[in-house]
């Protein structure tokens, strides 16, 4: 190893050495499958990281290019026979390279504003998303899009990604909502403690996509849960980590852990695959923080993706199966951070199979990244567009009328792509739904059959 090597790289060196170069990761890596260039593969990136650590190469433009193009989708980690943890390596690399990267003043200011001012401060974040809502509702969006000004400012791609913003946000204030379902298997047997869950509301999920958070609460209630929304929670820090701001991520991780210590013991339920993966990763992120290492372990052990929690109920015969028909032909796109990072592949599908009148069409390469990957679609627009096209072609080929996913990034990316395609062809776009929205609809339809409002 080099004499003076960055401590983060030194800490990851063993991880790099685990690679036996078998090349299995090439078969699942989105950027390799698009380019067939070894430098765009996980094996190539590990070898480059190792060469950097050992001092054989420096921080060259081509090194930055091929490390930046990694989606951190973790498909390689999930398939690696030797146990290389690619996301950990990727985050360390981003942080190290960020320090030696030549940044313009404008980039530095923007990074600081977004990573250290916007995402850590949910109040500010909400104001901004509210402004977006106003922008969309006031007719300004239509006017601006028509004016061509967005293209002029090179904001057209970013702007096109924006989902229609929800009008009602879910602001975590320590709310507690009791269960709704009257007759649940466990309550009939009467031998279990009342079910409790703490909702991780998320930043995008609690604002722009707040209806998904509310659907999550309703689905939990329908399964007999009392749902808590602890105050003081905010963004999980995944964005910071992926952009090489490891310190910012640690800051947000400590805050999240503290917020959920107000509701100890109960599971922390997440509906955003990316956030869930990040929350489960806190022990690694805070491993050398004496005040938080053990707390991070306890916290991470409580984290459950909503599909994970409900699947456990299903397996124990405890899931509320009083569902009504949804009348939908859909396909399921597996979010990377659910399928790869959290290894939750069968669980979402098993739940969806319980929904009456839902025809699930298989999606080829369902767990290949759609190109969203946090803000990858903004930082690497070309590769993101290639992956999105590949995904949309496959979705459309299924003949489904809706795509079901479980992560805000995928949902926004795929929805934006489908909107653009539909607009170009002058037809209505396919619907994009979160898994909990489908379940919520099914529960709602069941109670409508019983003539009670949902």
């Amino acid at each position: 190893m080099r004499e003076r090597v960055h401590p983060l790289l030194a800490a990851e060196y063993d991880n790099m050495l685990h690679c036996v170069r078998c090349g299995l990761c090439l078969s699942v890596c989105p950027t390799y499958q698009e380019t067939f260039d070894e430098e765009e593969s996980p094996r190539g990136r590990i070898a480059m990281a190792r060469a950097l650590t050992e001092g054989h190469i420096g921080v060259t433009p081509d090194l930055l290019r091929h490390l930046d193009s990694c989606l951190l989708c973790d498909a390689c980690t999930a398939i690696c026979p030797a146990g290389v943890q690619m996301e950990e390596l990727g985050v360390a690399l981003r942080t190290v390279l960020e320090e030696s990267r030549p940044h313009s003043r404008r980039e530095r200011v923007l990074r600081h504003l977004v990573l250290r001012r916007l995402f850590p401060h949910m109040g500010l974040f909400r104001v901004l998303v509210r402004a977006l809502w106003l922008y969309q509702k006031s007719g300004l969006q239509r006017a601006l899009r028509a004016s061509g000004l967005l293209r002029l400012l090179r904001l057209a791609e970013v702007e096109a990604l924006l989902p229609p913003v929800d009008s009602r946000f879910l602001v975590p204030r320590g709310q507690v909502w009791g269960p709704r379902a009257a007759t649940l298997p466990s309550q009939r047997s009467g031998d279990q403690a009342p079910r409790q869950a703490a909702l991780f509301a998320g930043c995008v999920m609690s604002t722009a996509l707040a209806e998904i958070d509310r659907a999550t609460v309703r689905v939990l209630q329908a399964n007999g849960f009392t749902v808590h929304v602890p105050a003081g929670q905010g963004c999980c820090g995944a964005l910071n980590a992926h952009l090489g701001d490891r310190e910012g991520a640690r800051l947000l991780a400590r805050r999240t852990i503290a917020a959920f210590e107000q509701t100890p013991e109960m599971p922390v339920v997440v509906n955003s695959a990316g956030c869930g993966a990040m929350l489960k990763h806190y022990p690694h992120l805070l491993a050398n923080d004496p005040a938080y290492a053990a707390r991070a372990q306890r916290f991470a052990a409580r984290v459950r993706d909503i599909s994970e929690l409900l699947y456990d109920l299903l397996r124990e015969g405890q899931l509320n199966t009083a569902m009504g028909p949804v009348g939908l032909v859909a396909t399921y796109q597996a979010p990377c951070h659910l399928a790869h990072a959290q290894r939750l592949r069968a669980e979402p599908l098993a739940l969806l199979r319980r929904v009456p009148d839902l025809e699930l069409r298989p999606l080829p390469e369902a767990d290949l990244c759609c190109g969203s990957a946090g803000v990858y679609n903004l930082t690497q627009p070309d590769m993101a567009a290639r992956l999105l096209k590949r995904k949309l072609d496959q979705i459309e080929a299924t003949g489904a009328e809706a795509v079901i996913s479980a992560n805000p990034g995928c949902i926004m990316q795929i929805a934006a792509g489908l909107r653009q395609r539909a607009a170009a062809q002058g037809r209505a776009p396919l619907r994009v739904l979160h898994l909990v929205e489908v379940l919520d609809q099914a529960y709602c339809n069941a109670s409508q059959e019983n003539a009670s409002p949902c």
Binding site: R21, L26, S41, H66, P81
Partner: protein
């Protein structure tokens, strides 16, 4: 260092974006599935046979080494550019040009991944049997160039048995079209077969024509547990003489069983000396199952303490999961491993495994053994940590002892991985000087300037005696060049 003029010439052939010559990019073309590493001067990604020919004309003119590379999953150092030069990345030549149902064959480009052809063939009710365990990342060009095998080859034969023809580019850029969509073809020398197993030293295979057969519709699988390795060995030969030809007959030794159990927690019998996995396929489900029951019976009669037949697809997957876990289990058990690939007459398998166990004890190394018992091809994997002083020297001695034991038992150096750089120093011991001289004459005739994958297959340091000299492993480029130290 390649001159700018040559880089421009390469860019004119394949396009600037397909010339990889950044310092980090070169790292990505410096390795294969072994521990070796050496930088090329440049890597290029052609997309047509004509581009490959143009690159070779240039290389021939300049006397530049050319190393063809598909998935770079070689376990013998076959794609290490150990003398620099041009790495030819064929991964982008990945079109399945044709699946011809009427003539039961496929025409593919060299960079098509093995599993992709298998899936495409199965969609047409056809079957491409060779199944190297790297089938998700290895390419058909590489499979043909290395004559790849796999578990199923016991019944169905190896890659060479499926090569009907090919387009191949010679060192000077001439393009040969050999064979065709024909099962029978004795017009002239079987030149297509000459390139099978040539490991990129005779030409660059760009478009193999591969035979396909009807897809068997049913499979049945069983596992047999043996307290004694010798019993398992006798059972293998008994099964193979019983008038049934299994599709796979896989062996794991006691060390392997324990490492897999550490990894999978599947409840494997840790005290067992051997585990055999048996599989049959065919179109008549009763006959397929019947044959597996016959094999299971033979195992019981020869001392198997437990025999389990998979009752459904899930149980079958569970049995194979144990076999497939060998590689990751071994990969995680030690920092480094050297996967060997000897083959012996199958009656000698118990003797070979015993010799390997002795060698492990002699050199203080852990050497689990697994492999394809039905065809005598076994994979002793030497586990080690190369940061420990002196360990690599012992690994080298153990590897040499294993090669020589295999040769003494009437076997050979490599069943399916190839010679590459790892085993080249033993070629003379394995084949004798006359055979190697004929091979050299063929190499000289087809590649007089020696630009194609130079240094591979043939011994570099064996000297007068023809015996491999110490350093055959230690002197390899990973350790001298871009190593960890």
């Amino acid at each position: 260092m390649l001159s700018q003029a040559l880089r421009d010439e390469l860019a004119a052939i394949v396009g600037r974006a397909n010339v990889h010559d950044g310092p980090a990019q070169l790292i990505a073309y410096s390795y294969d599935g072994t521990f070796q590493q050496h930088l090329p001067d440049v890597a290029v990604s052609p997309t047509t046979t004509d581009q490959v020919a143009a690159i070779l004309r240039l290389a021939y003119r300049e006397g530049l080494p050319v190393v063809p590379r598909g998935g770079a999953s070689s376990l013998a150092g076959g794609t290490i550019p150990e003398t620099g030069g041009i790495v030819l990345n064929l991964a982008r030549m990945n079109r399945i040009l044709e699946i011809d149902r009427a003539n039961s064959c496929a025409v593919v480009e060299a960079g098509v991944v093995t599993a992709r052809l298998q899936a495409a063939a199965e969609a047409e009710g056809l079957f491409y049997p060779p199944d190297p365990s790297s089938l998700n990342q290895s390419t058909l060009g590489g499979n043909v160039a290395c004559n790849a095998g796999g578990p199923r080859c016991l019944k169905y034969g190896v890659t060479k048995d499926y090569v009907l023809g090919m387009t191949v580019v010679l060192a000077d850029g001439r393009i040969l079209r050999l064979g065709g969509k024909l099962i029978k073809n004795v017009t002239g020398y079987q030149l297509a077969q000459l390139f099978v197993g040539s490991e990129g030293t005779l030409g660059v295979i760009t478009e193999p024509i591969l035979r396909l057969i009807p897809l068997p519709r049913h499979r049945a699988t069983a596992v047999a547990v043996f307290r004694s390795l010798d019993d398992a060995g006798v059972a293998v030969t008994a099964v193979m003489q019983a008038g049934v030809l299994p599709v796979a007959l896989e062996l794991m030794d006691n060390l392997c069983i324990n490492l897999v159990e550490d990894y999978l927690h599947a409840g494997l019998p840790r005290e067992a000396e051997a585990l055999l996995l048996l599989e049959q396929d065919g179109n008549d489900p009763a006959a397929v199952r019947g044959e597996v029951e016959v094999m299971a019976g033979i195992c019981r009669a020869h001392g198997a303490v437990e025999v389990r037949l998979a009752q459904d697809e899930q149980q079958r997957a569970e049995l194979w999961a144990v076999r497939r876990a060998v590689s990751p289990a071994l990969g995680r058990a030690a920092r480094n491993k050297l996967g060997e690939d000897i083959a012996v007459p199958r009656s000698q398998i118990p003797a070979m495994v015993r010799r390997i166990q002795e060698i492990g004890r002699q050199f203080g190394l852990t050497i689990p053994v697994f492999g394809h018992a039905g065809d005598g091809n076994v994979h002793p994997n030497i586990l080690f940590d190369r940061t420990r002083p002196g360990e690599l020297e012992r690994v080298e001695q153990a590897a040499a002892a294993i090669f020589r034991a295999a040769l003494e038992l009437g076997g050979t150096l490599s069943g399916e991985h190839g010679i590459g750089t790892l085993k080249r120093e033993f070629l003379l011991e394995a084949l004798g000087p006359e055979v190697v001289a004929v091979m050299r004459a063929i190499k000289q005739a087809l590649d007089p300037k020696g630009i194609l994958n130079p240094g591979k297959v043939f011994p570099l340091r064996a000297g007068e005696t023809g015996r491999a000299q110490p350093g055959f492993l230690l002197a390899l480029p990973a350790l001298a060049g871009l190593g960890p130290e």
